[in-house]
């Protein structure tokens, strides 16, 4: 077991974990943050995307011990005082989802994208979301949602 200390969605947590435990497992199984989902076995789908010290990562491809000392933000840490984050709101507004399985990862990656490029072109949005797969929407409304969020000054 290895001791880790980190901040998740604003709360300080400390735990003893097996070194082999993946960050996504830690979030889901230890902290009960099941908003972050697992969609594949190959680190291709991006459904598990969270922010680690402010940048997007696939939490199925990071060990929990590697997050020692870091600040993690998941989809569950976005809303403030009952108000959805602008990007969450835009996905709702533009119907940027069907089954919703890819949505937590899409939103986390979209926020990362808008932080670095507040006014992305359609092409830049598609390239920026390359690591996130959606089996339902054909991406059309996902791209619209990101454009909508950008127009509202979405990165925050």
């Amino acid at each position: 077991m290895t001791r880790i200390n980190l901040t998740v969605d604003g709360d300080k947590v400390a735990d003893d974990v097996e070194p082999r435990m993946l960050l996504v497992q830690y979030l889901r199984e230890k902290l009960g943050k099941t908003g972050t989902v697992i969609g594949c076995d190959t680190s291709n789908c991006g459904a598990c995307t969270v922010h680690l010290d402010g940048t997007s990562v696939k939490s199925c491809n990071v060990l929990a011990v590697q997050a020692d000392g870091a600040e993690v933000t998941t989809i569950e840490g976005l809303a403030q005082d009952g108000e959805l984050h602008q990007v969450q709101e835009s996905f709702r507004e533009c119907h940027g989802l069907q089954c919703g399985f890819c949505t937590p990862g899409m939103i986390m990656q979209s926020i990362d994208l808008l932080k670095n490029n507040p006014k992305p072109s359609e092409q830049e949005i598609r390239v920026g979301l390359e690591g996130n797969l959606c089996r339902c929407t054909g991406y059309h409304n996902i791209v619209k949602s990101v454009q909508h969020a950008a127009a509202q000054g979405g990165a925050q």
């Binding site: 070194p19 082999r20 076995d41 991006g46 011990v65 390359e130």
Partner: protein, 284 residues
């Protein structure tokens, strides 16, 4: 799937990491960004007893100007290399290849040194490293040595890094003012290329004075297209001038056959991509 059990060490200096490697030998595995190693461990293709994480060694991160070369620390993340002005100005080929490597999330974690040490023949950084004549700075118990790019890639997933050694940095000779182009042929976005070509050329007037070309996924290691390089010297940067040299691109290569394409198809692709890459690099 999750990895088998292992012990985890997170040294804060290269010396500590080397000592741990020395103690555990081939039971140990180095962890850089984990973007190739963790998938391997999760699929249980490998099950080291000890994992030595280089993530807390700050001295392995960063990019600096070293006169006639730039030096990229092994643990520098792809996303840092991608946006670094020194890399863009003096090693344009690396800048272009990194931009198209994997996806944003993977580039945030994966490292320059990790990708090269992994030595996947389909990896995007081997060909640019060969074309630019990169020098690999490797540290072991007896000190530091430098290995030329042409001697670094030994076989499939095998490099000149010894079992008791760590890749600490890569020196890339400046190619300021050279044109460059990385042509990556891929079926699915954010994946490894079926074939890719890394070309950098030095122009004098409208003529190619020197060309250096690396090939991705055309054999067990990244390769140089030496026949094409030689045939390009003195040629005008036109379709006709480049065509004959490009036709030699696959000479001496033994590309794999797999789901994405037969060996013969890859050989054909290499000739097409060399033509495109050289013309683009020459600004034609």
């Amino acid at each position: 799937m999750i990895p088998a059990q292992f012990d985890y060490l997170a040294p804060t200096t290269v010396e500590e990491a080397l000592a741990a490697l020395g103690e555990h030998g081939d039971d140990a595995k180095i962890l850089a960004g984990g973007q190739s190693l963790l998938p391997v461990l999760r699929m249980r293709l490998n099950a080291p007893e000890v994992v030595i994480d280089l993530g807390k060694i700050d001295s392995l991160r960063g990019i600096r100007d070293d006169g006639d070369a730039i030096v990229i620390g092994a643990m520098t993340q792809h996303s840092v290399v991608e946006h670094d002005p020194l890399v863009e100005e003096h090693a344009g080929l690396i800048h272009q290849a990194v931009e198209h490597l994997a996806d944003v999330q993977i580039r945030h974690r994966g490292t320059f040194g990790g990708a090269l040490a992994h030595a996947d023949p389909a990896g995007d950084l081997g060909a640019p490293a060969l074309a630019l004549g990169a020098q690999f700075v490797i540290q072991g118990p007896g000190g530091t040595r430098t290995v030329e790019a042409d001697d670094f890639f030994v076989d499939l997933f095998e490099t000149a890094i010894g079992e008791d050694e760590i890749l600490v940095a890569v020196r890339v000779p400046k190619h300021t003012g050279w044109g460059s182009c990385y042509e990556k042929f891929v079926r699915v976005a954010h994946q490894w290329p079926i074939v890719a070509v890394a070309a950098t050329v030095k122009m004098e007037g409208g003529t190619i004075a020197e060309a250096r070309i690396g090939l991705t996924n055309m054999g067990n290691t990244a390769l140089r297209a030496r026949a094409s390089e030689a045939a390009l010297v003195g040629q005008p940067a036109t379709e006709e001038g480049v065509a004959a040299a490009a036709a030699l691109a696959a000479e001496g290569t033994h590309p794999p056959s797999d789901l994405n394409g037969e060996s013969a198809y890859r050989k054909h692709l290499a000739t097409v991509l060399v033509r495109r890459a050289v013309l683009n690099a020459a600004g034609a």
